[in-house]
Symmetry: C2
Subunit: 489 residues, 2 copies
Amino acid sequence: MIALETGQDWQPIVKEFEAIVGKNGVVRKREELLVYECDGLTSYRERPAVVVLPRTTEDVAAIVKVCDRYRVPFVARGSGTGLSGGALPIENCVLIVTALMRQILSVDLENQRVVVQPGVINSWVTQAVSGAGFYYAPDPSSQIICSVGGNVAENSGGVHCLKYGVTTNHVLGLKVVLPDGAIVDLGGDLPEMPGYDLTGVFVGSEGTLGIATEITLKILKTPESIRVLLADFTSIEAAGATVSDIISAGIIPGGMEMMDNMSINAVEDVVKTNCYPRDAEAILLIEVDGLEVEAEVNAQRVAAICRQNGARNVAIATDLEDRLTLWKGRKAAFAAMGKMSPDYYVQDGVIPRTSLEYVLREIEALGAKHGYKVANVFHAGDGNLHPLILYNNAEPGALEKVEELGGEILKLCVKVGGSISGEHGIGADKRCYMPEMFTSADLETMQWVRQAFDPHGIANPTKIFPTPRTCGEAARSAPSQAIAGVDRF
Amino acid sequence: MIALETGQDWQPIVKEFEAIVGKNGVVRKREELLVYECDGLTSYRERPAVVVLPRTTEDVAAIVKVCDRYRVPFVARGSGTGLSGGALPIENCVLIVTALMRQILSVDLENQRVVVQPGVINSWVTQAVSGAGFYYAPDPSSQIICSVGGNVAENSGGVHCLKYGVTTNHVLGLKVVLPDGAIVDLGGDLPEMPGYDLTGVFVGSEGTLGIATEITLKILKTPESIRVLLADFTSIEAAGATVSDIISAGIIPGGMEMMDNMSINAVEDVVKTNCYPRDAEAILLIEVDGLEVEAEVNAQRVAAICRQNGARNVAIATDLEDRLTLWKGRKAAFAAMGKMSPDYYVQDGVIPRTSLEYVLREIEALGAKHGYKVANVFHAGDGNLHPLILYNNAEPGALEKVEELGGEILKLCVKVGGSISGEHGIGADKRCYMPEMFTSADLETMQWVRQAFDPHGIANPTKIFPTPRTCGEAARSAPSQAIAGVDRF
């Protein structure tokens, strides 16, 4: 008998779930629920009341209808790799896990579309079509474990989003279970559909508008040729100026990543690529792609711009093996950082490219003020920073101090005209910073849309929007919760 | 004294408008209202009760607040070139015309952004930045007269949208006056913003969610080099197969347009380009752009694919003058058609590229069945058809028959997995076909969002969504209007 703090009797709800997905599809033992307590944002934890594992759209609709009838909140979860707590359970919630929804439903090479269930792993999409010369562009670092459903919820990015855009640019249509259990189709098979673009609203809505159960993705032709350049600089400024100059020259690299000295040394300590110079203040990894002639010409143009900005060395890799060697350190950077420091806190902010030098200097100063080292590994072309704050969670109060530093970095991003999130979402982690970017009227408008989808507020409530409960700062400036009490209709 | 059929006393409303924009900013004489009776869809006409011409966001907000207070509907209008009746006045409405909102508010070349008022003409944006090597990509045929605000409302496309996307892909942020007069910011300066993507919902919402008063556009670097190819074919099938083969080869042309024999001859009769062969069953105009080497290699690849598919001749133009000559006939095609026939009705549908040959044959058969000639000039690369039905409006009942034929063409598009609109919007013209593409649950979901923005239904009501009032067919299958009576909250 499961009876939780609120007095909710879960027995009849669990029985209904078992009737839908079978006893094996329902998890309710305390020890088994443990693994669902958090997602990639491990500093927040909350145990769900029950976990349900559907296999089909109809399963999800039936489960959600039960939640709607009992007015219990539900949270959707893919692989649980999200870094902002979007899939963090809330108290007394039903956690709907898509781990058994892993079918690739259709592949249409002629029209460059693939339809998948939400539990399908990101890299499987490319694997399914690469033999025919296609790929799926959005490539979060976690792509070998993260789910497409989670990517849709968080509007995930990746290294190649500079040229090809984030998840929302690659989702054509969605079959969605709304918070009342209705099944609707948003978008469709075509790039543009008549009526309101609700696909765009849904992508990045972090599970607050319903659950996507079928996702139609756009796939791209694999480029004929790729070059990867590694350029090293004796100053962050020179590397930053190089990034701006490349874009100003009209070149849009497939990816353009920067790593600072601390990251370079962490990577070389652990991964030993032997190609990242330990004495460089910054390196740039730049990938150019397209026709063979295009990749070659652009590689030479990029190399020239790097040298004009004082790069000491510029290596150009053409063969797949050489390219993977150059990328290896970047891909392993977060893991390497984990070996350098007992704990690290990764932040995700965006700035205009033109503020790169200023912001990196300020981040260093903020780190020094708080007594923490901050390493920088990031998508330089998009201005999407990932400052990694190194700390030791064993020190009392360290996490709070680190979160404060992280918050100051986000405010710095907003100050220069940037954003509090580039590709990790808002989730539970950053909702208190939303008023930094939006007026109360802006946030209210979003909340009206939320209510249009979810009038009873049972779909992943407490995420995205600031609430006075959890965030003292937001309580002053965020009237968005007031909308819950406003009768607009 | 203006007192209309409904008994609405307009005098106090007009006085309030005059207080906001001055007497010169308010039009209420019958003869002056005449020009506002229709937009580009000239077969529908309705006189507005009053026309107001604001200059600023604050003017618009004040005007809309008056409308909200008196509960009178308002319709926004840019240049009035829309082809689906999106800016068609409705009975006893206030028409808010953005013709005096024509300031380019800021140009930020470094971050590739331009902020404009909604009345700014599409081509002015490119003119403002072309000297510095930039351009604004969406290029509707009407780009020298249509407004950016209208482009946002209708999510306009154009020749170059195959490679670069339609308006929604180029709008970063919007300042919007909501239907209650509140001013909010949707999106912002960055490609991705946290929270719901309401910019995406607003673009293409045809004035039903509010009025955009400041629009932040993304501008692109002008490509280094451009080639335009003209290939002529002895069959539509061969031209269609060429289109598919070019895309399958991984080439994304800047534009890929097809014209059939009737269009070719109409153009040569009127424009006399002397380069479109009159005996060709179809021609393709294909533009490739990028680096000089890339444009050259792709032009040769495209030419080879055209020849493999039986093209009789392939001309390649590199110089600006030669390129403009090749484009001249295409750009003048609609006007030429107007000289060939007393009237023409232009339809706008989308099909998967792979259905091109089948659909063009079916359109010809449908035309023959109804006794009308149908010319085809269209964006072949996107599968975005523009069948032009030639008719004489002086014949009694002709328009009704032509509209019926147009409707059958749209249903054909839907049948093969396409869409009832590519770039002209739904407006007043096509709302009755929405149930062909969407279930009632899909349409209800859109209507909930509409209500979230516009609870009193005063922003361009009767557009987009099917209503039993105007469309017998839709009345059977479209329960979407029922939502107006549903209390969701």
